[in-house]
């Protein structure tokens, strides 16, 4: 029982004003504790940015930013060390591009189909199932890319090496379809019914309404979905580390093996680099680049999402 207030105070025979003061104090303390918990997320961000900047600053004390940007080789662990981030960025962008080529058409078609074509009952079943697809651990997707998709692709490209960006990109694409289709569907559903009704009243059928009225109306929401999808694909680690190989390779040919930024970090972490060595610091510099890439995509995506919410 947790009776409070006058009743309790009088039965306890306590001085009412002192009791009130204690209670007020306790309420204040609890609020302060809760604020601290909520504020800890800000501390975490400061921690992330601080670690990345601090370790990268020691890296950039050894390596000029100019070399970092213009050098075409990334061999930080060799005796003849080169520190050009370009090969890792090329690998990251190539796998991301392939992923988008798979995920954007599939995601948008699925979103339109789910929101405009299928019955509510089927939708209620399919949406949780889509969540399940997003719940598959990435290492399992990596296994799938290396030992199922790559052998399957070899039927089409007999010369395909065991590690290649194509199969990693395709599997990342499959991975991000649930995100893209669910955000896209939200965007389509946010289009007010009056627009649908107007289109139907003018004689447009379901297909014309969907693609000529609803998709353009939900345009910024759809773009937000793509941008958030890009940010996921850029940060994906296990699929590329398993299936795309770990050799930095300045190429955009998806049939070749190449390391991404994330795969490089994994490769270095698997070895036993001493704290403070240039190789150790290079993963933080790579991480900083990755963070900047995903952060800009996230900010862009969230801005777009806000924008479409305000339209109607």
């Amino acid at each position: 029982m947790n009776w409070t207030g006058q009743e309790l105070l009088s039965t306890a025979g306590l001085d009412s004003s002192a009791e009130t003061r204690v209670r007020k104090l306790r309420e204040r303390a609890i609020e302060a504790l809760l604020l601290m918990a909520a504020g800890s997320s800000v501390l975490i961000t400061i921690g992330i940015v601080g670690v990345l900047l601090y370790e990268s600053s020691t890296f950039f004390a050894h390596v000029s930013v100019r070399d970092f940007v213009t050098d075409t080789e990334w061999t930080p662990l060799f005796s003849d060390a080169h520190f050009g981030i370009a090969p890792l960025v090329a690998g990251t962008l190539t796998t991301t591009m392939i992923a988008l080529l798979v995920a954007v058409p599939c995601g948008v078609i699925m979103a339109v189909w789910l929101s405009e074509y299928c019955s509510a009952a089927i939708r209620e079943w399919l949406k949780p199932l889509l969540e399940l697809l997003a719940a598959v651990p990435t290492v399992v997707y990596g296994y799938f890319a290396l030992l199922f998709v790559t052998p399957a692709l070899k039927q089409i490209f007999p010369e395909l090496p065991g590690f290649n960006m194509l199969s990693a990109g395709i599997v990342i694409g499959i991975m991000i379809i649930p995100y893209i289709s669910s955000i896209s569907e939200d965007a389509l559903r946010a289009v007010p019914n009056s627009l649908r009704e107007a289109a139907y009243a003018l004689g447009a059928n379901r297909f014309q309404t969907s693609w000529q009225v609803l998709v353009p109306a939900a345009y910024s929401g759809l773009t937000a979905a793509f941008v958030l999808g890009i940010s996921r694909a850029v940060g994906e680690t296990m699929v590329v580390a398993i299936a795309a190989g770990m050799q930095p390779n300045l190429t955009i040919n998806p049939l070749e093996p190449a390391a991404t930024i994330t795969a490089f970090i994994v490769q270095v972490s698997l070895g036993d680099l001493p704290h403070g060595s240039i190789g150790y610091q290079s993963i933080f510099a790579a991480g900083l680049v990755l963070m900047l890439m995903t952060l800009s995509f996230n900010v862009l995506g969230n801005l777009m999402r806000k924008k479409y919410r305000e339209v109607y």
């Binding site: 997320s41 399940l132 030992l147 059928n205 972490s269």
Partner: protein, 299 residues
């Protein structure tokens, strides 16, 4: 002859269904592939054995024990901070700059790639705090990683509690905290539980950040147990397991996938099957719980 638009409409109805079916077909294919290559490796000895040079003797004992311990620490970190943050943001937070900063910040944290969390933990928990390549570091790292999930699900759950419940409690003389503690939180437990289950599933599947903080890939020991067989049933150092080296299921699987021998790939498939079954079961549970709570609660 039907008009082109009508034909397109029919085609899209079928095409959309096909693509949707294809996506789920891929999930089935993935499970099927794991079953085909891994099912025959699943046995009691696979669960009770340590990893080994000999693929047919290798098992996942150290991996699943490690996963269990890491997830335990993860939840002990994420649930208190996450629920408290959610309560603050929904019930207390004034509409000011600080609140806006915290909210934007949480949205951005949810989008940080998991490997970045590993780098943060490497720099902060290992080299500044000195926690070592341990269960504790792993648990803290994943705890912070799933924090946005817990916060967001807590907030959504609290938002469904109608205002009049709070007003009734306050009118009877309860303080704000008493109202939250005895009414708002119990009524939102379903949603919070769903978020917790999804966080567990996410933490179990995370690989990249744990590789970064130096999880071991070959572990033939178990962290020391906090309980002992004889009186007083608590070992001399009950918290030693927190500082023990460890591996987890996805890292064990990654290790096996990365080896060239096909026999190790079969072990990887078996480990993947175990991992996938656990995460899918957790997510199905969360989905069922959520729909149950949505249906049952009629304010």
């Amino acid at each position: 002859m039907a008009r082109p638009a009508v034909i397109m409409d029919r085609l899209f109805l079928i095409g959309g269904a096909l693509i949707t079916a294809l996506i789920f077909g891929i999930l089935m294919l993935l499970i099927g592939d794991l079953v085909q290559h891994g099912l025959h490796r699943l046995s009691w000895s696979f669960i009770q054995n340590f990893p080994s040079r000999f693929p047919e003797k290798a098992g996942i004992l150290s991996a699943w024990v490690g996963s269990l311990l890491v997830v335990l620490v993860t939840m002990l970190t994420a649930l208190p901070i996450g629920i408290a943050s959610g309560v603050y943001l929904e019930e207390y937070a004034p509409k000011n700059r600080l609140t806006a900063v915290i909210e934007i910040n949480i949205a951005n944290l949810a989008g940080v790639p998991s490997i970045i969390w590993g780098l943060m933990a490497l720099g902060l928990f290992i080299y500044v705090c000195g926690f070592g390549h341990s269960v504790l570091t792993a648990g803290f790292t994943l705890g912070l990683l799933v924090l946005p999930i817990v916060i967001i699900s807590t907030r959504e759950a609290i938002r469904t509690v109608p205002r009049r419940i709070r007003e009734a409690s306050l009118a009877l003389g309860a303080t704000k905290w008493q109202t939250i503690r005895h009414h708002v939180l119990p009524y939102s437990m379903g949603g919070i539980l769903t978020g917790a289950i999804i966080s567990i599933s996410r933490a179990l599947g995370e690989t990249a950040p744990l590789i970064t903080i130096g999880a071991l890939t070959y572990v033939a020991f178990l962290p020391s147990s906090p309980i002992s067989a004889s009186y007083p049933f608590v070992s001399a150092e009950p918290f030693a397991w927190l500082f023990s080296g460890f591996t987890v299921l996805p890292i064990q699987m990654f290790n096996w996938v990365s080896r060239p021998q096909a026999a190790f790939h079969e072990n990887a498939a078996a480990a993947g099957l175990v991992l996938l079954m656990i995460t899918l079961t957790l997510n199905v549970t969360a989905i069922i719980l959520r729909s149950r709570f949505r249906k049952r609660v009629k304010w």
